[in-house]
């Protein structure tokens, strides 16, 4: 199961607009995607569970994906996080 560890640099962390972009991106893929932050784990396609993870700026998160498009999903989410949630990066329509 592919997995990757990333640091969230965005100033508001994985809250507000970045959280919404993250969830929208995850939903484009059919794979099951999990985000872990410390001991907590969230469904990457659930805005409520991503918000309650409490990912602040500078936090390290790990993404796991399982399914036929797992690699593409991780690639898109990584581009989004590393691109600092700039509109259009990773979240492309």
């Amino acid at each position: 199961m592919p997995e990757i560890t990333l640091t969230v640099h965005h100033e508001v962390g994985l809250h507000a607009r970045p959280a919404a972009m993250f969830v929208k991106t995850a939903k484009r893929f059919c794979s099951a995607i999990k985000v872990t932050h410390g001991e907590r784990e969230a469904n990457a396609k659930s805005i409520l569970s991503v918000l309650t993870l409490g990912v602040d700026q500078g936090a390290v998160i790990t993404l796991h994906a399982e399914g036929e498009d797992a690699d593409q999903a991780l690639e898109a989410l990584t581009a989004l996080v590393n691109g600092n949630f700039v509109e259009g990066v990773g979240a492309g329509e």
Binding site: V12, G13, S46, I47, S49, T52, G54, G58
Partner: protein, 575 residues
Amino acid sequence: MKMLRGIAASRGIAIGPALRFQKADLHFARCTVEDPSAEWARFEGAIKTACEQMAEVCAIAEVECEPEDAAIFQAHALILEDPELYEAVRARIEEHCINAESALSDAADMYVALLESLDDEYLRARAADVRDVTDRVLRILLGVAASNGVELMSPSVILARDLTPSDTVLLDKSLVLGFCTAEGGPTAHTAILARGLGLPAVVGVGPDLLEIADGTTLILDGGTGTVVAGPDQEAVATYRRRQSVADAALTQGRERAHEPAVTRDGHRVEVVANIGNVEGARAALEAGAEGVGLLRTEFLYLERVHLPDEEEQYRAYRSIVDVFGDRPVILRTLDIGGDKELPYLGLPSEMNPFLGVRAIRLCLAQPELFRPQLRAALRAGVGRNLKIMFPMVATVAELRAARTALEECRAELLAEGRPVAEGMEIGIMVEVPAAALVADRLAAEVDFFSIGTNDLSQYTMAADRTNVQVAALATGFQPAVLRLVRDVIAAAHAQGKWVGLCGELAGEPLAVPVLLGLGLDEFSVNPPAVPLVKQVIRALTLDEARAVAQEALSLESADAIRALVQARVPAADVG
């Protein structure tokens, strides 16, 4: 005729019949079901309908609201599609064989409790969004309309206990004259959306509001927070006149937004803006601001886990001053205290954070916090017109200590061979009564003052502005506050120093003649208020303003002062 007072949430005057907006009754029976899979299908059907409604709401919001406000509804759409929420509902229906209403309501309670328990103001506020979304689904399950009986057939003033964003956005805005709520504060969604829509709003009026019968004529003054129920003909005529003057002033103000603010007899003052980030800087420039009278720097420090370093601050400040070219930008150093959660500072919580270690007190106590900001500001000002001011100074000793820190940073930067802004003006916020009372001593050691009437009013009147019960006391129109403003301006002018005012008072059209008459040199206001403030100044001569100011200061109440200006300067009566 009955007068009610609330919090002024969105400027403008509305006159029309009251229409009460009542939430639908969402009571339901908690029962078990024989066929959980049919119940789940019922829930899925309701979600599908809710998604269609949300798509409609999002489409309306996109047209009617600012992009930032429309984002509220996109967040709602995501909650509505949340797979974990579905799972929580499905588990409850299938395992406990309960009806969909109970299952949804329990799942919503769980997420609301979870969000409300978090140590983050933003996330706690999301609990209201979960309620807004799940209530929509409950209404569909119960087959009740969004509200009982709001049939907006003719132009009306909407009354409600409180309004959610979806309530607000779904009303036909061509028939809404204004909003008035019993609950809520100036930062409630209703207030934000009303400002975005340009509709007058008064919030936090209290339970008396809900006793007003449908159809009663209401006057809503969103500039002063006044609500008049069942006004007599004279009151209606007065407000109608004000409404038309206001409309004309706004139109003319917008046309002349980029011209300077000069009185009829040629006295020019500066009208600048209060901003908090680079987007605000662009909005201010577009609105006609001649510069920035207050650059709040807190945005760099909030919602994060590390202190912003000098380089990050330098880039942020530089990007803002660059917007203004050679126009003045006044940077206020960090104004923060124990009421804000800055995990990286580990500030102890205080009994009275507004009387505790905050602003300049905190910065002087923590040089590692203060110095990177001073260094960043000194660097960002190179070749630009950047000025620095220190917040919450109460004594001459604090001012001297802050200036010493600034000089040390300058010397350090020069020793490192870095370019540093030359001849930067240094000022202080006058917002503690102590500073106002020793303004003559402080004036000798600054280039300018900027009077912060929001805090000055709170501290002078010993009244918390955010407490609805005493908010009316904490206004800058209080004679006590205006007398301090007068003395501060006089003390500075006696030593050839200039004075600005960056509290909300500067953007109140009724306060402008008084402040102008007291000799204020610079009005710093929220960007949308720039055109109107300029227009009020243009309607006056300096002598007229002085006469109004002198008379105002002899009066005994804030209401009497407002009434005086309304009577003497019709051009300022543009609520």
